[in-house]
Symmetry: C2
Subunit: 184 residues, 2 copies
């Protein structure tokens, strides 16, 4: 399909720390000109579904100021640089946030957070056969608590609204669907 919607300008209006705020000039299908918000997420990131040998999944409790509540999320983090392979990000965040590593990390799905106005992407990896490495290595801004849950409990938490983080919901549901498709 040929689209008539076109971007005819882009202006950086406010640089941020992890994101930059731009104002795009758009030409609409009917020819009118409009200003649209655009958020560039500078680095993108990775998210991990870490599965223990007994099938339970490692999850993170943390306080999220942007929504002013404690969340239950999969481990995740931004890339160290825009050159970094997200598989490297995933392995690092797994070790730092959970204190486990894995020799079996595979891509599960690729996500875009908010396609209407934001460039952010998150690659979601499955990490199986977890091996303990002796404790987390958190940076000074991280204050998190790890807990392992079985898959059915996490699915209930998604359907009841206790888990709302989109990458976490999509990652767990994708893992669940894949197990089902494989007949497990």
């Amino acid at each position: 399909m040929e689209y008539k919607l076109k971007r005819v300008g882009r202006e950086l209006v406010m640089p941020g720390k992890v994101i930059d705020f731009y104002r795009d000039t758009m030409e609409l299908p009917d020819g009118r000109i409009e200003k649209w918000d655009y958020i560039d997420h500078k680095r993108g990131g990775a998210c991990i579904v870490p599965v223990l040998p007994d099938g339970r999944i490692l999850m993170i409790h943390q306080y999220r100021p942007a929504i002013d509540r404690e969340t239950l999320e999969l481990p995740a983090g931004a890339r160290d640089s825009i050159q970094e392979d997200t598989a490297v990000t995933a392995a690092r965040e797994l070790e730092e946030e959970t204190g486990y590593r894995s020799d079996k990390i595979t891509l599960l799905l690729k996500l875009r957070s908010a396609v209407a106005y934001c460039s952010e992407f998150t690659d979601v990896y499955l990490a199986e056969d977890l091996i303990p490495i002796g404790g987390q290595h958190l940076d000074e801004a991280e204050e998190i608590r790890i807990e392992a849950f079985d898959l059915d409990t996490l699915l209930e938490k998604i359907y009841s609204g206790q888990i709302q983080d989109a990458k976490t919901a999509a990652g767990i549901l994708a893992y669940s669907t894949r197990l089902y498709k494989e007949g497990k």
Copy 2:
């Protein structure tokens, strides 16, 4: 858990059209002060999994300037006002974007797009027993094409990276998992 991470200030640095950009002043667990980005999505929205009587799902092709590509997404849209019930948003967006209505719209899951820095929420509804109402009613900035897919095709598109929009992936995977749990 008591968290030591605290927000001690918030400053609006750039108002936008659908989002506002703030700079938060955070007190870290170790006592240091840091500036964090915060994006307030003003209205939140709804997303719909629209299921035809034959089981196929109505999807939307559209061009998304923020990621500079055509996407395949579930119908979705922002609330008309911050008072609007997202069930009303869902019913309206379903009719406008697909030309179908439903008397059976139920909440499937609640999502937060980017909990690290953004307040946006999207309530995802399941719309069953669709009834054609005779054509879409698009606004002047919308340029979309509807196509119906069976569920297995959409799951393949998620796992192969052809569908990356997080609300779309989570919504389809949640519907698929629910069907499986119900033994369908």
